[in-house]
Symmetry: C2
Subunit: 248 residues, 2 copies
Amino acid sequence: MSIQMNQSLSVDCAVFGFNGRTLKVLLIERRYYTSDTPLDKLKLPGAMILENETLPEAASRVLEEATGLRKVYLKQMEIFSDPQRVSGEELQWINRHHGIRTERVVTVGYYALVKLDAPTIAYTTAKGAQWVDVESIPRLAMDHKQILASALAMLCREMLQSPVAFELLPRKFTIRELQTLYSAVLGIEIDNRNFRKKILASGFLTPTAEKEQGVAHKPAQYYTFNRSAYKRALKEKLRLGFINNWRY
Amino acid sequence: MSIQMNQSLSVDCAVFGFNGRTLKVLLIERRYYTSDTPLDKLKLPGAMILENETLPEAASRVLEEATGLRKVYLKQMEIFSDPQRVSGEELQWINRHHGIRTERVVTVGYYALVKLDAPTIAYTTAKGAQWVDVESIPRLAMDHKQILASALAMLCREMLQSPVAFELLPRKFTIRELQTLYSAVLGIEIDNRNFRKKILASGFLTPTAEKEQGVAHKPAQYYTFNRSAYKRALKEKLRLGFINNWRY
DNA sequence: ACAAAAGTGTTCCTCTTACACCCATGA
DNA sequence: TCATGGGTGTAAGAGGAACACTTTTGT
């Protein structure tokens, strides 16, 4: 065997959003798709890497194109490098539509967390993209379903270890929203008293002057995430005196 | 900008070993190196990806060539994709010695954990490679020092979360050896009473019939890692009732 | 008045931490 | 007999888990 040349590198992004009830992922329609294309229509947003661009830059570019958002939370995960992961018709389709001649496409998976607000939904809808519940994902192009599964697994792990949840919530949110998000992503029930105690004790939430309005029940307090308190805690906690609770 | 073609994908491996005192990393000499080469001599083991080979396969191949070992613990970490990470003289050197014409090399970092036994040391020494203390790493080729730093950081995180330590120890080891390993990698002091309690309570260690011999003190019990007990615990622990101790 | 979600405290128990001495062996 | 590292127990404190009722609002 010889060194692989004529290969391409791409990024594919699993973009997650939270609508207050369930976790959603952004799926786009394959460009140039016609009904007689014998390939699956829906896919994750992705792109080939350009000259003079790093992988994170490529992922940001994809994200901005797909959602209109800059400065999105982005995290690299696995690389998918099976020599056959894009082959046959899929490979022809890529070469035809990109005007290149590649023999192999290795892709780097990213996952992104966005705040699902009205402008973002409008933007994506206008582009023909869909926010699909992660519980009911249809067939996807190439190995995108596998990439998505990997992203979901990684998101669960991240949620337990760092405060990425706030990337999925609006700037102001209620504690119940935060709790619902954890429940939805992790698929577990959470006791609200314990949750409030823990999250408030952390000192990472700052209460705002606002409360919910127009709800048919006691209105909830809005909080914001106090990122600087979090960063301060990070520094201090770097002393881990003993081997902290390993998680198997 | 246009789609990047004429690029290569490589893997670079930070191979860690433990000699009972300190953590070591395997550095090799650049092939075809002559003293007038204006490039750094030492580097991490690595290789270009071959046709028909996945990245993990490439990493295994590199590992076997560097250490003579198959079935080594291997973990993918970051991708290093700065367009300029290999350029100028380095890029020329690569093209000359591989007989290719690449314009850009993106590399995937792996870290590997090996048991530093006599045959392995003999093998690597015969190949002119060196096991260097991670505290005193010299200049390395390209961005390999950065790759190594990233590997070390990742290793620390992994050590706290899963029982990878055993990959660095011989099949039979004493609890003190295990403790020394944790201390060395994490750079912390560990109380031996608490450590023994915790590690023995986990049920992952099986005592063997053997004890240390020929030491000028009370001989220590040898243990082996009970992987099946660990896997059993894994399954049961997947219920995480509440949001387990997040670590910031 | 009622429906609906917000918000609040206590008890039990486990796990973490800090800490000091005797034991078995080879020299 | 001494030097060396192996091996042991306990008490105090922190944090996790289980549990039910009152409050505030809109209709």
